[in-house]
């Protein structure tokens, strides 16, 4: 077994060659139709939304999308969503509820975009509202971390009944660079930060933040991609089956309890 260091995983997760959300979407679903716009002012392209099918089962898909070429990356703001992206996501969450469609999200971002306009348009409020909307959904939600899951920009679409994560993906409070910069005032210590932060799939599984690690077989890239996509498809089907027959309130409560229970603290002795 080849054990990769956390930093090696950071590099894999960020690699421009790594498969993006749309690659997985095309492979996993039998059909997909992208739909656009936040109905307010923009179609921000860092998040892709649409409808998809596996057999007769319909899904709402919300995905953070990095570009696969430089040109596409510029269009998609390198996968860093602006508030309009989250508001587009919220629009599709509401429809998912209305039409009783399970929601599948794909997480892959360095973080929400830090810009002047993003602040003017309420980046913080947009992320919070996206999480709030997700918390309310009465349909099963599956969140999948496929690459970089960094900060609130990732969590914004991460409130799932089940959270899956690819073996070489990362999920963290901040980029290792940002973390080192804040904690040690030295962003060049990113490597060291990565090892400390517990950002690998195994770490997150141990911390009970994610529910399942999706293995990424080493070797031929296309073959690995094929296998990962198949595993994801299988998982999605199994989870949907699991929630069949659940009443809507219970599905929502299941998600609430999942996040309600995340926290690391110790109980004090009574004698206090």
């Amino acid at each position: 077994m080849n054990k990769k260091t956390a930093w090696e995983k950071v590099e894999i997760a960020r690699s421009p060659k790594r498969k993006t959300a749309l690659d997985y979407i095309e492979k996993i679903f039998d059909e997909f139709i992208e739909l656009h716009g936040d109905r307010n002012c923009k179609d921000d392209k860092a998040i892709v939304c649409g409808l998809a099918k596996i057999g007769n089962q319909n899904f709402t898909v919300i995905a953070e999308q990095k570009g696969r070429t430089t040109k596409e990356n510029i269009e998609r703001n390198f996968g860093m969503p602006n508030p309009e992206s989250y508001r587009k996501a919220i629009r599709f969450m509401k429809q998912a509820d209305k039409f009783n469609r399970p929601v599948i999200t794909f997480i892959d971002t360095k973080g929400a975009y830090p810009g002047i306009e993003a602040e003017e348009k309420g980046q913080g409020e947009a992320i919070a509202s996206s999480m709030l909307e997700m918390s309310k959904l009465k349909v099963p939600v599956i969140a999948i971390v496929i690459g970089e899951g960094s900060s609130g920009g990732a969590l914004a679409i991460g409130i799932g009944n089940r959270v899956l994560m690819l073996e070489n993906a990362i999920y963290s409070i901040l980029s290792p660079e940002g973390y080192a910069s804040i904690l040690w005032k030295d962003s060049s210590r990113a490597k060291e930060a990565a090892e400390k932060m517990r950002l690998t799939a195994q770490d997150l599984y141990d911390l009970k933040v994610i529910d399942k690690i999706i293995k990424e077989p080493s070797g031929d890239e296309e073959e690995s991609f094929f296998k990962v996509s198949n595993s994801l498809k299988r998982e999605i089907k199994a989870i949907i089956l699991e929630f069949k027959g659940w009443n809507k309130e219970d599905i929502c409560e299941n998600r609430y309890q999942k996040f309600r229970n995340i926290g690391e603290y110790k109980k004090l002795e009574e004698s206090l």
């Binding site: 999480m131 309310k136 963290s172 904690l183 926290g263």
Partner: protein, 280 residues
């Protein structure tokens, strides 16, 4: 003579520069107008500079004193304590030292009290405690308090001040955003009034979770509020930031704050707003 005194007091003023309301010496310097102020006068004046009107940051106890009716605050005791999930060197020591320095256990205090006779559940954050950052204990206390508001059918008020999610607790801190936001959703379902008061500074994971999605969002004048920090933004875009960027006034202008309220008016404004939500 006065000048001499000011010079002598220079080291104290430096310590106070982080604006934490703790008694170090008897004098503090206003970071905005550089006026040296007698601490007692500052306290009596709601921690507002009597010379230029600048707001000093507030200790939890001082905030509670200015908002909650005397003798009515009952602190919730959850019996939980901070741990070190990343095994970071020095984290436990830092917490211990902060407890000694500030006299508070964590970056938020939560409890039940009255505002001009109105029963509320209230949380107050403190930027003097690890920048008011939200780790597991802070997230748990806030979520617990929101659930308590639902259980007791009382309005929920929170005074926010935070740098965001607590770095030292890593991803678990990030998840507190999800936890607290989900609890807001429960309050919405239950018809609980939620008022958030943004005070200086409110950033990151707190701005991007419970702080900005209240029924009513108030802010103190001049408070700095944003998602991304200013240094990160200016580095990313390679430009300097416009005047007044990320102030409470900026947020009001862009539609993310309902009202800016002077510190001295906050208590009356809160009780007034609570009354608008009664007898319906």
């Amino acid at each position: 003579m006065i000048v001499d005194k000011m010079k002598k007091r220079a080291p104290t003023a430096k310590i106070i520069k982080n604006n934490v309301d703790i008694p170090i010496g008897k004098w503090v310097k206003c970071a905005k107008c550089n006026e040296i102020i007698y601490k007692e006068i500052l306290r009596e004046n709601f921690n507002i500079c009597p010379s230029c009107g600048a707001y000093f940051r507030m200790h939890i106890n001082k905030r509670l004193e200015t908002v909650i009716d005397e003798g009515t605050y009952e602190k919730f005791d959850l019996g939980i304590d901070t741990v070190n999930p990343l095994n970071l060197e020095g984290y436990e020591e830092k917490i211990k030292a902060l407890r000694n320095k500030t006299g508070i256990q964590e970056a938020v205090s939560s409890g039940r009290g009255k505002i001009n006779g109105e029963d509320v559940i209230i949380c107050v954050m403190d930027s003097g405690f690890l920048m008011g950052s939200m780790g597991s204990v802070v997230g748990e206390k806030i979520a617990y308090s929101m659930e308590k508001a639902i259980e007791l059918n009382l309005p929920f008020i929170i005074f926010c001040t935070s740098g965001g999610a607590r770095m030292q607790e890593g991803i678990i801190s990030l998840m507190q955003m999800a936890k607290t936001t989900a609890a807001v959703s429960k309050m919405n379902d239950a018809g609980i009034l939620y008022i958030s008061v943004l005070t200086d500074p409110t950033y990151g994971g707190v701005t991007a979770s419970f702080a900005t999605i209240a029924d009513i969002v108030l802010a103190e004048p001049g408070a700095m509020i944003g998602f991304a920090g200013q240094r990160v933004i200016s580095q990313t875009i390679g430009e300097s930031l416009p005047e007044g960027f990320q102030t409470a006034e900026f947020l009001l202008e862009h539609g993310f704050v309902d009202k800016i309220v002077e510190r001295k008016e906050l208590k009356d404004t809160l009780s007034k707003l609570i009354k608008y939500h009664k007898n319906n």
